[in-house]
Subunit: 635 residues, 2 copies
């Protein structure tokens, strides 16, 4: 597992989840979220807007200041993410009605596509004269990127080509329009996305031009003279009037290989870094890998919430300064945590280092999953780590990027669990499931029997079609202090096989082989780096990969007034009827209680013992509204 | 001391401070701040702008969005506060050059005044057609208010009438223009100030019309139909476009007698409440007093920093929600703390309750005084309670309201120390000084010999010109747990004489009487109400009226990482050579120290003993720049 010998992801179609956490979530995505999102897109007019021959009515969401942009510009991307999500669900569950509905939407897109390959319902209908005139703000290539991802998913799920052909035609157009040759635009999108999409496309088509176009967009980013300056002047605008002030906002402040700090809009950053990792893998580009390593170290060492959330600030939907991770005002957009899952997955495959999987898992089980309600029809855009009781999932948003983003991740989660390389099969995530994989051409079935993430015992059945020599790489989560492994009942010395967060079990595997992985998951108290002021004197609770929170409904005193004594033992209970079935933590905290109303006094607050229960952060805000905290005071 | 029998303030000219804190500050205000501020006003063109016949050049500070306002509109008020400050200094220190300079500026103002009495250099020069057209935003009456305060101070200090006559003419004009009669405007200023100024004027002139105009402005505020709506429509504007969204911003959201929460712009609030208290006193208005009491309880019970700073938010320069008192981002404008001194002083005189003097003293010694550098030439606009090392006093500001505001308070501080009523003489503040007062017509000299605020022993010499029966009311600071009093060496039982924060010593006083007041001031730890999240698990240090902070230069570890063990003893030392001579606190804290760079870990931080020194908050940012905290973690 080096850059010379990196792992490949598996198809999302290879894994069937049967666990008690993800499988029910996949079911609600399929049965509730997909129809719900379609209904919303009809309601806001996004589907109708695909008919570019209809005269546009008033804008659903008007241009913001200075005519810079409107969220209607991104509707195509939301439709694309819906197609992508719906396609993932089709792969595992045939649904002729949904199949037909996707075809209907795809047909509208194909119908709208112009002869030269152009498709963007917003610009075709409303601003035909302004195509490609503002790559910095207007998301045309971003929308195409999502449509490419949708087309790849749709093709992989159904074998159909109609959407794939649409995007191939548009990619051809973009390949003609953008590049270093005379008459071409030396541009790239203000919102990275098309780059990673083109690499996905390349992995389907094998067409090297798709890889090279992605590479061009990534390499060109941040070079001087700056394309967004040139483009602004061409529009008659002053580049200095850029709303966000700095090109850090879209990570074009310098060439990507020089970047060493995660800056700007967090989702843009994650999508860009995904493409950099993909290109590092596909093109054996050590300089891009180095940049990814630096950026990863910066993110995970200084700018990541304990929930795997990222981007603390609403003002740029992104990063601020080192250790600036306020809890109540955390922006921590769902899409950004989803993006970290994407990036962590790519880094894990590229580097074979368990810490990438650790962060992927951290974001997945906490700051990403929190974005989706248990019923699949409510969504967090922002994922704060504390609330006064006024933050709730909403039904829709003027910028509805998050619902289909978490939905497509959940629906395709199987694709993140395994990877393969010559002579190697790696397991990155654990959940009860059956997978049909392939190692060096030999089909291998892998079963996982486990209650993960509520229990750390994982029984793996490794059944190659024929006996085969390969290394089974099992991720040893960084949160686990004492993992243990046995193969066919025989204990394995981890000292001999563990390296960089993976146990490497090399042998001739044959049908019937059984591996048991035991990952003890006591309740852990987490302490933040002292640089994070918001968490000073506070403690977070984690068990396995799951970060906990305390909601008002689970304590007799406001959660933000609970101080947890350092020695207090916490008991774990699996509550099958709570929040879809979760492990909860219970104990007694000391509630700060003040006699009288004085704002300041010379006596410390009294501390009154109060029993409390903590629930997984990802499942908060499903009961009576009230305060919530992740970081408890420590007594 | 009831509303029926309230105390009157004494003239600022009655007291000469000779202490080691205020007297040197008064000296730098006289010798440095007054010339410095004049120089700055020349430099920015504010003095030149008094010549309204000169064509205006480009605006020094342009209109902000939508042409709403420019800080140049308020230049007259800054000139006025300079005249007021300079006049205060003249009263105690004859300075013919300064006297002449004030006369020169006053002459320009008199020269500019229009025949009907109008004077406002901005509108006369730049916007003559827009006089009185936007009381909500444009501060015309506010500027006049400050000019009235200047005129009163100038007259009291020098006996000269020229500025007084100018403002009397303009007050006549305003009296004709504003009121309930047909053809009059039913308006009032968006920024309260003229109301309290008119009452000051009334106390000088005895002209009841001045009191009634103040009363009209206060009574009319917030009534419906709302004047600012009417006025906006008259300008062709939509009232709904009001930049601040709510009339809470300028406390005109409802009639003042109904108000029970401190809201909006903090300085405006303080100035309005001052006028309400003055009117309650002058007009025996119980309903206004009740409103003042409610607002006071709201401020001091839920919305006041431990430094006496107020108004946490930059966005409205004002109040937000209960217990929302963040430290690092505290706006806590110097002017607002100065305003609290003004209001607390009025409430103390009106109610004779020591808690008003407590808050006045809290703001005075901490959040107000911090605004002025030791050399008198640097100023804080914002007074945060924590800094990462990037917050410093500045030389000037586009809205230079704070420097002359804290300067005029310092220069006239003697006026806040005493008050009198029939048969009563009250001491509200302690500082080494000599005062010439008057009780029931009998001149009384009061000397204070004390090292206050660094030591709590106060020796008072009470020397009436002739023996006189009256009650000497000595404020017993709320921070003092065990005050002791002796009269002529004889101990007085406080149980017999103390009520509502004052010791009432009734006797026939005669020359040579000596009162000793002992106010033991151990170091106190303050704990905030648990609702103040920013201070949970933290402790502030106070000794006497002085709140302390820790600066980076005084600790071997960053101050924000210091945790103070609950039992840790702190030693007090008077350091004559430090920061102009202050008492410092020293002890050992535990610095949070983390091995390695991990953002989150399961082990608590190591705690390493680190000696530290705390200095008065008001004197911070005079040495090497670095972090500062008021609220230390408590271990």
């Amino acid at each position: 597992m080096t850059i010379a010998h990196h792992h490949r992801p598996i198809a999302f179609t290879s894994v069937e989840l049967t666990d008690r956490l993800w499988a029910p979530r996949q079911q609600v995505v399929r049965e509730r979220t997909v129809p719900f999102l379609y209904g919303q897109m009809v309601k806001i007019g996004a589907i109708e807007a695909l008919d570019v021959t209809r005269p546009p009515g008033p804008l659903a969401f008007p241009y913001r200041r200075n005519n810079t942009s409107t969220s209607v510009m991104y509707w195509d991307s939301d439709i694309a993410k819906w197609i992508e999500t719906a396609s993932y669900t089709l792969a595992s569950h045939r649904d002729p009605k949904l199949d037909a509905l996707i075809d209907e939407v795809v047909a509208k897109i194909a119908e709208a596509q112009e002869p030269d390959g152009y498709f963007n319902s917003f610009f075709q209908r409303r601003e035909p004269a302004r195509k490609w005139s503002n790559l910095r703000d207007w998301h045309e290539l971003y929308c195409l990127g999502h449509m490419i991802e949708a087309a790849v998913a749709h093709h992989r799920a159904t074998g159909k080509r109609i959407l794939l052909d649409v995007v191939l035609r548009q990619v051809d157009l973009v390949t003609r329009l953008f590049g270093p040759a005379a008459g071409q635009k030396r541009g790239y999108c203000g919102h990275p996305e098309i780059e990673l999409a083109l690499i996905k496309l390349y992995r389907l088509t094998g067409d090297r031009r798709h890889l090279e176009l992605a590479s061009y967009f990534v390499d060109e980013r941040g070079s001087q003279p700056h394309y967004f300056d040139i483009e602004a002047r061409a529009r008659g605008a002053d580049p200095a009037d850029y709303w966000f002030g700095t090109y850090e906002y879209n990570q074009s402040h310098m060439p990507v290989r020089q970047q060493d700090r995660v800056v700007g809009h967090a989702v843009r950053a994650m999508y860009l870094y995904c493409a950099m990792a993909d290109l590092a893998a596909e093109k054996q580009d050590e300089s891009l890998l180095e940049a990814c390593r630096r950026l990863w170290a910066d993110l995970t060492g200084k700018r990541l919430y304990v929930t795997g959330g990222l981007g603390p600030s609403a003002s740029n939907e992104g990063f601020t300064t080192d250790y600036d991770l306020p809890n109540e005002t955390a922006y921590a957009e769902t899409c950004a945590a989803v993006g970290l899952v994407f990036w962590g997955h790519r880094m894990a495959l590229l580097e074979g280092d368990g810490r990438y999987g650790d962060a992927m898992e951290q974001a997945l089980y906490n700051g990403a999953l929190s974005g989706l309600s248990l019923d699949g029809e409510r969504y967090f855009y922002e994922n704060p780590l504390a609330s006064r009781g006024d933050h709730h999932r909403w039904i829709w948003h003027r910028c509805p990027c998050c619902p289909p983003n978490i939905a497509r991740l959940v629906a395709s989660l199987g694709g993140y669990m395994y990877s393969h390389a010559p002579g190697e099969l790696a397991v990155h995530l654990y959940a009860e499931s059956a997978a049909r994989l392939d190692v060096d051409g030999v089909p291998v079935t892998v079963h996982q029997v486990t209650q993960y993430p509520w229990d750390g015992a994982v029984a793996l059945g490794i059944d190659p079609q024929a006996p085969a020599e390969f290394t089974l790489c099992l991720r040893l989560p960084g949160w686990c202090r004492a993992p243990a492994i046995a193969v066919n009942g025989q204990s394995v010395s981890l000292a001999d096989v563990a390296a960089r967060g993976y146990a490497r079990l090399q042998r001739k595997w044959q049908a019937g082989d059984r591996v048991t992985l035991d990952l003890p998951m006591p309740v852990e108290r987490l302490y933040a780096h002292p640089g994070i002021r918001a968490d000073q004197g506070r403690v977070a609770l984690r068990r396995g990969p799951v970060v906990y929170c305390v909601e008002a409904v689970d304590a007799a005193a406001p959660p933000d007034l609970l101080a947890l004594p350092r020695g207090e033992a916490l008991s774990v209970r699996h509550e099958a009827d709570l929040l879809g079935g979760v492990a909860t933590l219970s104990g007694t905290a000391l509630a700060l209680e003040q006699a009288g109303d004085a704002l300041y006094r010379t006596e410390p607050q009294r501390r009154v013992p109060v029993p409390f229960r903590a629930v997984p952060y990802h499942s908060w805000d499903h009961r009576a509204p009230g305060e919530m905290v992740v970081w408890l005071l420590e007594a």
